[in-house]
Symmetry: C2
Subunit: 328 residues, 2 copies
Amino acid sequence: MKNSLRIDCLQYANWSEKVFRQMRQGRVDAVHVTIAYHETFRETVLNFEKWNRWFERFPDLIMKGLTASDIDRAQQTDRTAIFFGFQNPSPIEDDIGLVEIVHTLGARFMQLTYNNQSLLATGCYENEDTGITRMGRQVIREMNRVGLVVDMSHSADRSTIEAADLSQRPIAITHANPHEWVPALRNKKDDVIRAVTSNGGMLGFSLYPHHLKDKSDCTLESFCEMVARTADRFGTEHLGIGSDLCQDQPDSVVEWMRTGRWSKDIDYGEGSASAPGFPDMPAWFRDNRDFGNIEKGLRDVGMSEDEVAGIMGGNWYRFFADNFGGQR
Amino acid sequence: MKNSLRIDCLQYANWSEKVFRQMRQGRVDAVHVTIAYHETFRETVLNFEKWNRWFERFPDLIMKGLTASDIDRAQQTDRTAIFFGFQNPSPIEDDIGLVEIVHTLGARFMQLTYNNQSLLATGCYENEDTGITRMGRQVIREMNRVGLVVDMSHSADRSTIEAADLSQRPIAITHANPHEWVPALRNKKDDVIRAVTSNGGMLGFSLYPHHLKDKSDCTLESFCEMVARTADRFGTEHLGIGSDLCQDQPDSVVEWMRTGRWSKDIDYGEGSASAPGFPDMPAWFRDNRDFGNIEKGLRDVGMSEDEVAGIMGGNWYRFFADNFGGQR
């Protein structure tokens, strides 16, 4: 029998040996890492190159992840498998041929939007949500063909529901929480979660304070009760973790995430002029070493061992196994 | 026992279903195709994209080749495995990190120069040959690490000999003939061939008329006697075919090959103002259907079945098997 798995389906740390060692201390078998927010194709390739250097420098701590079986290999060799994703379709520019190219380079998730309208769909901060565009339909089909997962974490409701329905393969919201728990713009309403999960898709629970009840002061119990309630409503097998951990990043990075090159004005997004930086993480989830706290918290709210194992990694593992290869 | 193999280690056709069908008619199991002469990284990616479309459109005729075992799979399924290469280091621009990126995308050969001085080495048309540059030494080491073969077909003598010596893995001259047979600028002198083959490297014989004795009028017998003589001198196991077939290309393409964007003047290279286009191929090697003629011709000049099988594909197969993976 496989050891229970720990998979985090979104992080954007300021990567360092320290962070990689903490992943091992937290027994994190796989992490989906963001390598593009606003980057062009060429800039994204520079980020793949940076990761190639990390893999070369720390072969005992991390390895490139392309398929679910790489997670087994990582676990067997006491390493963390790193899977790549984009929070914006900017890396494919206006070129559908780049979908297969970035998949070949290792990308496994791509958001169709990052808050704003993109060439493909509408982001969650726009006033008008016009759904999936002409190019968006083509790109979803191409993503389905090669095995690049549609991620709608930062998309608007209608666009997300349309993507879930148009996609021939399950899609994901890798990092967000239910809107009914905290009505943040980035959290997802029931009909959005239902459209994704009823089509076999996944929701990854975020630990980013702006998505938590009482933000940085959110209690572990409140978070775990929310997870249990979501499991009751949508099915445990569709749920996992997508912590959105942005460890050790300077505040200049959250400004880049929010404004890229698209705006000359400062957009504080979920922050504010008085608190423009990254918020403090909750005390029970400071970094990769704290996954055990969540595991324990889920048990404490009455979830079964199987349910906890699924949410901590088993469900993402199955999703990775089904969705990262070419279409059958 | 494996069927005897046919591998052509360089073509640059104007690709079409017709050419792919001729490959099957000629029972060509694998072809190394050029996808860059002067292209930048982004332009080269567009060429990878074009090939992805060919693979999608003609899955019964061709498949992407990444390892030698793909040639077995191609043979078993009656297809041709396509391996990618560059005749210039332009795709990696000034960025050593792109070496691994292009290897991940499928590149398996890269020339350090195309006739001119490059960032890495000196081309065979320059007056001064200063050998491998500072960046060239770094790039050769990186190519060795990832399994991207150094190809010196269009390089100058000193640069080629230095590359053969500096490289920790065997290098190749994928498409050229011995200078002693025809003293073309692109053909290789004895000490160059010796430096490459004595380090385990390969020479692929070219069928491009400018590299042949009597050009388009070269006889099959003359070509095959040259092959047999080269085998006697340098060892059969280091020899294969690299036809340099440029089938169905308009003459504008040979002008692009010669001048790219580096010159405003026309450089006729091995052609001339009165014959600026592609020369006619010899009557016994018009296209991929004619590999059987060479096979028969080699037997007729007295080469053994094993020797013929090695030159027609077995030697390249072994070289691919040893040199396309990461360094051990």
